[in-house]
Symmetry: C2
Subunit: 214 residues, 2 copies
DNA sequence: TCGCGTCTACCCAGTTCTGGGTAGGCCTCG
DNA sequence: CGAGGCCTACCCAGAACTGGGTAGACGCGA
């Protein structure tokens, strides 16, 4: 790799600790320049217009304007900038949302500094970067298309979850113990990469698992 | 009211305690005859075919086949029978579901015996009976049509609930405390007569509160 | 027959939600 | 100015969910 200008990076995260830490770490690398930092997506956009970063490292969870929504704004206003999402969560939902909104990368906050640097280098070079667990989630999603991977019993449980039943009610309805209902619920979440009940419900509605309560 | 045959009532409830208690109480009334009892909706249908009840008093929460789903079966197979739902819950969802499926009444399990007897008499006479809180819920629903009654802030919270955020995450996102997020969530449920997160999500999707996460 | 998937069931500790409250500050409308 | 709605925030105790496990029973297919 020939000597060339530093990679200009804009950091956006509403946790000052993360922001400062990241900045300090990244600045130990000669080929990376932290061109600006912001605590909110809107502020990040403002600063971005001034500093014209090549890479935007943005937290996915932020007050007012979520990182995911902000991706599109960045792509509209700063088309040369490539956006990498930073997230605590490896939920498939966040990941695929990010990708569909145009993120060039998605890395988990618990990865090593080296990996973050790699991500910055890669996306600055026009590539995309996804940390390992993230890649798995995307692969899983692709495999999922066409047929959903749920067992019949899991579909039963999912249907009842959508109907708003608690584990206990599900257990009663199906004639099993609530412990088993819990296990099924856990397996559903694990299998689908969805952490929340809300996500399960949307998954079910999207995939026609449930006919809709009438 | 002239002397006439007893009102034939079929009781369906998967809690033997409720079933027996109800039976014992109802049989102290001369003009009511408990023609049969069942612990499951299917069994209730079987027995119903034999005893031809005028009134079916059915629990709304039952294993295998929910009371709500069973209403239609009764209306198809035993059109002369009028179905009254018995429920622990005054949730608007249950109530309107019941009504839409053709229930002739909806009473809460915590009402007095007299009220249950009144309900039986009323529906046997061709009327409909809804216990007080239930009626409120239906009225509320009617008023709700056309415009939803949520404040802007409540819509914010609802949107985030649909996105699967916890109270804590909602609080972070909106820059409020989780206690406040909880309050909003509680108010939403109370206002909409929806007890579960699942119900809130379906409400939001139905009413276009949220654009859908993409 | 062995392995694998499925369904069932339980353990634990920690976190979150639930469903009752109360209450102060702000703004708007009459 | 007073009432009422809205947003905020907190109290509490009990219920429910979460996310790690492990494990037995059953059936199906290699």
């Amino acid at each position: 790799m020939t000597e060339r200008p530093k990679i200009r990076v804009l950091l956006i995260d509403n946790h000052p600790l993360v922001l400062d830490g990241l900045k300090a770490v990244l600045e130990t690398f000669d080929h990376i320049e932290v061109a600006g930092t912001a605590g909110l997506a809107q502020a990040g956009l403002e600063i971005g217009r001034q500093v014209l970063p090549q890479v935007v490292l943005m937290d996915i969870n932020m007050p007012k304007l979520s990182g995911i929504d902000a991706i599109e704004l960045f792509r509209n206003e700063l088309p040369q900038a490539r956006v990498v999402m930073l997230s605590m969560h490896d939920s498939r939902e966040y990941i695929s949302s990010s990708v569909m909104h145009g993120a060039a990368g998605y890395i988990l906050k618990d990865v090593s500094t080296d990996e973050i640097v790699s991500a910055i280098e890669t996306v600055a070079g026009g590539g995309t970067y996804f940390s390992s667990g993230v890649f798995d989630a995307l692969m899983g999603e692709r495999a999922e298309e066409g047929s959903d991977p749920l067992t019949p019993r899991e579909r039963d449980i999912l249907g009842l979850i959508v109907a708003g039943r608690s584990n206990k009610e599900i257990a009663e309805t199906l004639g099993i113990t609530s412990a088993t209902a819990e296990t099924h619920r856990k397996n559903l979440k694990k299998k689908l990469g969805i952490a929340t009940t809300a996500g399960l419900i949307r998954y079910a509605l999207d995939h026609g698992i449930v006919s809709k309560v009438g």
